[in-house]
């Protein structure tokens, strides 16, 4: 790719954002349908993107169909703005969408594309979150036939997913799903909320921001519209539980960098091979550090 090439503005006005007009129309119509039927996996004609399937082509198509010159974009990969996937997607958007601002600060962004995480700080009504999805159908683990899965979705028949949870409790005394936790949207369709950790699942519920999920390889788009009920699948007497990050003594682990005790932590090894924990959301971690510095100088 020629990193120094810039589209002439009059051309950019027409084919802004890499996708041709027909592709954008297709994706936008699909997004509208997905918003109208919360949680329903809307099929669409996923385009070839100049990157491999599985590198976020679904999310990228949604982002490119929505983005305009007045947007500010933030791209996250596993919580970080500087991972390979995030850097490359951001560069690609900068290259194909002249005029679009990119940022690492969440409060500045109007459009956020993310992989594996929902940002720590609550989203606002002015923001749209796009998640990259590898496997859109939660029923795929219990039913191999797609035709039958569609019927099960239509009839809201998720008993076999619940049997899986039952077996988990029988064998391990708790539900052991760590990410991709099946979540019921608007009391009907159960979605696979992309590989976000359990920690992020409650953020889907009544979210002020529109959340769009795009699966490029599987050619599906689905949505959690603003202020929609999103309930993780559970039994009446076994409540949903997020990661508690307690150590052996039962104390909440803190981030080794900013000291936060209210964020999702990643485990690392330091130079002495000891385990340390750090915020997975790098922008949040940085923000906390800035706040602390301000407090000490004031």
């Amino acid at each position: 790719m020629n990193m120094h090439y810039e589209l002439p503005l009059e051309e950019a006005g027409y084919s802004f954002g890499f996708l041709d007009e027909y592709a954008k129309k297709e994706v936008r119509r699909t997004i509208l349908k997905a918003i109208c039927i919360p949680g329903y996996q809307t099929p669409y004609a996923s385009r070839e993107m100049p990157m491999g399937r599985g590198f976020g082509t679904g999310g990228l198509q949604v982002t490119l169909a929505l983005i305009g010159p007045d947007d500010t974009l933030k791209v996250i990969d596993q919580g970080s703005d500087d991972s390979v996937n995030a850097v490359n997607l951001r560069q690609f958007v900068q290259l194909t969408c002249p005029g679009v601002e990119v940022t690492e600060k969440q409060e500045e962004a109007t459009l956020i594309q993310s992989r594996h995480r929902i940002p720590e700080v609550a989203l606002t009504e002015a923001q749209v979150l796009v998640l990259q999805v590898p496997y859109p159908d939660p029923l795929v683990v219990v039913e191999p036939s797609e035709a039958r899965r569609k019927i099960m979705h239509a009839e809201a028949d998720y008993s076999r997913l619940l049997v899986k949870l039952y077996e988990d409790i029988v064998h391990f005394d708790e539900i052991t799903i760590s990410h991709r936790y099946p979540t019921r949207i608007n009391r009907h369709y159960v979605i696979d909320p992309s590989p976000i950790p359990r920690w992020d699942v409650p953020k889907l519920d009544q979210s002020p921001a529109l959340i769009l999920l795009g699966a490029g390889r599987e050619k599906k788009i689905y949505a959690v519209p603003p202020y929609t009920v999103a309930e993780p699948l559970v039994f009446d007497d076994v409540p949903f539980r997020v990661e508690d990050f307690r150590d052996a003594r039962g104390e909440r682990r803190a981030c080794a960098r900013c000291g936060a005790t209210d964020s999702f932590l990643d485990e690392y090894c330091d130079d002495t091979n000891a385990k340390i924990y750090q915020c997975s959301d790098s922008a949040y971690c940085g923000g906390q550090l800035v706040l602390q510095q301000r407090e000490t100088t004031a």
Partner: protein
């Protein structure tokens, strides 16, 4: 109010294109159920019967006589080409074949139970015995883990499966025990109507006797109406009050079991009884 639970009228099923001559050129008198003109298979033709609350109805016949097909249609495993069936439940009449897929699934999950000859059809071998019963309860909207555990325990205890085997995979069970788990699963929602398709075929005699005892006890206890499909006259004699004899998709004789066994009218039934006694 009549205590009729099921009314089946004119049930027919033709596999293949079917032609106007199909019905006339098949049946016991033609000694075939394959139409010589269009080679369609007339699996069922004009099957009608009634079933009453708490009654056990036997259906007997040779392989391919349509006895299993009848039950399959009623359990929505297959759809008939013609005919109607009414299911009476809590004073409500459900026209089985007029309902949409969701209503049919509701009846199937909550009000009907099915025990197949092959446990692989009725049980999910990916999950434990308890999980199998849980599946059925979850389908009928019981979503309380403790409640599901308790009911599964009760049911397995009732069907004489050792409680410590509840969390094991039915793959590791003997054939008789798999059949007991299947019965427990079918009974999970306490359905008023239970279909038993060759439940004792392939089991040894002592296990057969135990399973038949269990079925009788359950019928006494829960007053469940049952349709028992078998080719074994012994099973019919032990369980069923009334019996239908089927051949080539037609009912050729119907009546009280004792009457049919002691005084068979149709030549085929006579041969059947004579060969067994």
């Amino acid at each position: 109010m009549s205590n009729k639970i099921l009314e089946v009228r004119g049930l027919s099923r033709i596999y293949g294109y079917g032609c106007p001559l199909c019905v006339a050129s098949t049946g016991p008198e033609n000694d075939t159920n394959i139409c010589p003109h269009c080679s369609s298979v007339v699996a069922l033709h004009d099957v009608s019967f009634d079933l009453f609350r708490g009654e056990i109805l036997g259906i007997i016949g040779e392989s391919g006589s349509g006895k299993s097909s009848t039950v399959k249609m009623l359990y929505f495993d297959d759809a008939p080409t013609q005919g109607k069936a009414d299911f009476f439940d809590n004073g409500q009449r459900h026209e089985l074949f007029q309902q949409n897929a969701a209503q049919q699934r509701r009846l199937r999950n909550k009000r009907f139970g099915m025990v197949y000859q092959n446990p692989h059809l009725g049980l999910n071998f990916q999950v434990s015995a308890g999980g199998n019963i849980a599946e059925r309860l979850l389908m009928s909207d019981v979503a309380h883990y403790g409640e599901i555990r308790r009911r599964a325990q009760e049911l397995l205890l009732r069907t004489e499966v050792l409680p410590e085997r509840m969390d094991q995979n039915p793959k590791t069970f003997s054939g008789g025990m798999q059949q007991r788990v299947q019965i427990a699963k079918a009974l999970a929602t306490l359905p008023p109507l239970l279909f038993l398709d060759e439940v004792t075929t392939g089991l040894d005699l002592s296990v057969q006797a135990a399973i038949l005892d269990l079925i009788l006890e359950i019928q006494q206890e829960l007053k469940t109406a049952m349709i028992v499909v078998t080719h074994d006259l012994g099973v019919i004699r032990l369980l069923a009050g009334r019996t239908l004899v089927m051949k080539y998709g037609r009912i050729i004789e119907a009546g009280l079991t004792d009457q049919i066994l002691e005084d068979p009218q149709h030549a085929y039934t006579q041969r059947l009884v004579a060969s067994n006694l």
